[in-house]
């Protein structure tokens, strides 16, 4: 008797809440275990050009996600689709379970930091930051508090009255950041936010952005063409090419286990030897290459299905020595040795890069850390060396 009354009471409360929420433009998520942002088969064309091609991606709350790709790969278009400046031709964009694909930008709980900052030149720093808060109908006192909070967050104290053109590039970048953060968006979109800064400032700002993101627990999606930037900041990276995501992985996996040859070449430097699988023993492949003889390669999961492959090895995993190291046939660290002549030496401070010309004429790049100040191991151009690397350090990629 009492139980049923309680139950009916509970039901009516839930129904009331649901109807009140339905009136709001963006009701609370219905399904709780969904990712914060789900992109489902989104496509966008401009004329005959497919900028984004049926792309799907999940982004969890609190993630720092980077979209990486060469210019024209569709990463900025994807970001603009998320911001609402473009409407997708097909597919859904679910934010907290609600399809926002057709919601106008000014009605989305998403903010964007523009590549050129797009500050309002006629408004002061304070009014730039307060712009979004005023539109949200926030009380004047609250706006004042929030603006002060944002100014402190990006360390712009004392510059509140300045106009954008009275600020340096770095300061403008901070205003843009503060302005886009002020509304506390569920997702912050950053379009090449550091592209206009010089190298030193870019590095310190990267660290600050990461710190900020962790502290605010906000979801950041950054678009960049700079792989180092993406690797430094993001927890996960989505590599885009021709409107598609070709790999979504942590920076480490992207670098050490690229899914395709294109990614291997796009992210970082890599030596590639084309060849054919001639032997397979346990998880060890023997690949006969035209340029470097037969190489021993440890196979990753999933196994290669094709016979024509490329063996890839990152330059920093190629070591140089005057004599070949002792071979240890039985061990897992089976060693590949390539004899050649050093043709190019580039001293870069922390590392030195070498190009070694093999007898086949192919070049092998190697980079070695300069761990000793008075480096007795430095190699000179013209010197005969052995470039060697283990089977485990190699990747085998389908061509």
């Amino acid at each position: 008797m009492i139980g049923s009354a309680g139950e009916s009471g509970l039901t009516s409360v839930t129904a009331g809440e649901a109807s009140a929420e339905a009136a709001k433009p963006l009701p609370e998520p219905i399904v709780s275990d969904m990712p914060l942002l789900r992109i489902e088969g989104v496509a966008k064309s401009f004329g005959n050009f497919r900028a984004v091609d049926r792309l799907s991606l999940d982004i969890r709350a609190g993630e720092f996600f980077a979209l990486l790709g060469p210019s024209g790969c569709g990463k900025t278009t994807l970001l603009r689709l998320l911001a609402g400046f473009e409407a997708p031709d097909e597919g859904r964009i679910l934010l907290g379970g609600n399809d926002i694909a057709q919601v106008l930008p000014h009605e989305r709980p998403v903010n964007m930091m523009f590549q050129n900052y797009a500050l309002f030149p006629h408004l002061s720093v304070r009014d730039n930051i307060a712009f979004g808060l005023k539109r949200a109908g926030m009380a004047r006192a609250d706006i004042k508090t929030r603006v002060a909070e944002m100014v402190a967050l990006v360390k712009l104290e004392g510059l509140e009255r300045r106009k954008p053109d009275q600020l340096s590039g770095g300061q403008r970048q901070r205003v843009a950041l503060a302005r886009s953060l002020a509304r506390r968006p569920q997702v912050l979109l950053l379009d090449e936010p550091l592209a206009a800064l010089d190298k030193k400032l870019r590095e310190s700002t990267q660290a600050e952005l990461m710190e900020l993101q962790r502290r605010l627990g906000m979801t950041f999606i950054i678009v960049t063409h700079d792989q180092e930037e993406a690797m430094t900041m993001a927890g996960r990276i989505g590599v885009m090419d021709a409107g598609r995501l070709v790999q979504v992985a942590t920076p480490r996996n992207l670098y050490e286990a690229p899914a395709t040859r294109w990614i291997a070449e796009f992210v970082g430097d890599i030596n590639l030897f084309n060849g054919q699988v001639v032997g397979r023993e346990h998880s060890r492949l023997a690949v006969a290459t035209s340029d470097a003889g037969t190489l021993a390669v440890s196979e990753l999961w999933p196994p290669v299905t094709k016979e024509i492959v490329s063996v890839a090895i990152r330059p920093e995993k190629v070591k140089l020595s005057r004599r070949a190291p002792a071979s240890d046939e039985g061990a897992s660290h089976m060693i590949n040795r390539l004899e050649g002549v050093v043709v190019d030496v580039n001293y870069l401070g922390g590392i030195t890069t070498y190009k070694v010309k093999l007898e086949s004429g192919a070049l092998v790049r190697s980079s070695m850390a300069n761990t000793a100040r008075l480096d007795v191991d430095a190699y000179l151009a013209g010197q005969r060396v052995v470039a060697w690397f283990t089977a485990d350090d190699c990747l085998v990629l389908e061509q």
Binding site: A83, L104, H106, L119, R135
Partner: protein, 304 residues
């Protein structure tokens, strides 16, 4: 060092050229007008005294100088014909400029939002009427507006009016003529400002929750103010001194200062008073010019 000097010389000449132009074609003629405005009218050739003659020596020059007086300016202030003319000129110029702004802004805004390849065509459409002589276009309006003109014929045929309406020689006709003639001067600077505007700033506004209407009033319009100022000034100043359009299209019961000037100069042959009126008009136009200059300087400083 010497190389720099060689390059500096033409550069310095180029910097001097506009000043030279100003002195030759503005300051010197203005000096003549100012001098005439301080003279007295006379039945002579030229129709005023004194006349400076440098060949008669220093004594004569000093005597002539002593004859100059501000009587003509006193007349301008005491006779309400002139004051009313100035007031009418200002009223007409302010009203016309406002109408021009109301019509020109939406047109310029629309042009700036056209696809790139259409913008050039739209620009041509604005400019092409200028290839016909200004006077011919005004006479064409007389043709359209007169008693048995095109406008009345259309209105009668459509049974909107039962008898011909008097259009010509009214203020409406004058405003029509002014707005028609000056519209490109309003549209072009506005279009220049609006088309240069960074689209991402508007996207930022909408990203931050501004509806399209709010984005217009809070971002687009404030950022287009330099264009508004340029367009308004480009129209306002010549309209204040406008003579032809009011003379041909407006009634004769109230005169603009340009018409009064014409009357004094050609009908009354009173060059000194006409000159005084011209000098006073110039002084009247200085404040808006100074204001515009200050606005533009602020813009330039802002741009740095």
């Amino acid at each position: 060092m010497s190389a720099r000097r060689i390059f500096a010389r033409p550069a310095r000449l180029a910097a001097v050229a506009p000043y030279l132009w100003m002195v030759l074609f503005f300051l010197v003629p203005f000096g003549f007008v100012l001098k005439i405005s301080l003279s007295q009218t006379a039945i002579a050739q030229p129709p005023y005294t004194p006349v400076f003659d440098v060949t008669e020596g220093r004594q004569a020059l000093t005597a002539a100088l002593a004859q100059l007086s501000f009587d003509n300016f006193k007349l301008l202030v005491s006779d309400d014909l002139y004051i009313l003319s100035y007031l009418r000129s200002l009223t007409v110029a302010v009203t016309s400029t406002l109408i021009l702004l109301l019509i020109g802004y939406p047109i310029a805004y629309g042009m700036a939002r056209l696809p790139q390849r259409w913008q050039g065509i739209a620009m041509m459409l604005v400019i092409v009427p200028f290839w016909t002589s200004f006077l011919i276009r005004i006479y064409a309006w007389i043709n359209i507006l007169q008693h048995d003109g095109l406008l009345n014929q259309i209105l009668l045929t459509l049974h909107i009016v039962s008898a011909p309406v008097v259009w010509l020689s009214t203020d409406s006709a004058m405003y029509l003529g002014i707005v028609y003639s000056y519209l490109p001067f309003m549209i072009l600077p506005l279009y220049a400002t609006l088309s240069r505007m960074d689209a991402s700033v508007l996207e930022a506004a909408s990203d931050l929750g501004a509806s399209p209407r709010q984005a217009f009033w809070l971002v687009t319009f404030p950022l287009s103010l330099p264009g508004v100022a340029a367009g308004a000034l480009l129209c306002f100043i010549p309209i204040v001194g406008e003579f032809v359009i009011p003379d041909l299209l407006a009634g004769s019961n109230s005169l603009m200062i340009g018409q009064t000037l014409w009357l004094e100069f050609f009908t009354n042959k009173d060059w000194p008073v006409a000159s005084a009126a011209a000098v006073a008009l110039l002084l009247l136009l200085v404040p808006p010019l100074v204001l515009y200059d200050r606005l533009q300087r602020r813009q330039l400083e802002g741009g740095r």
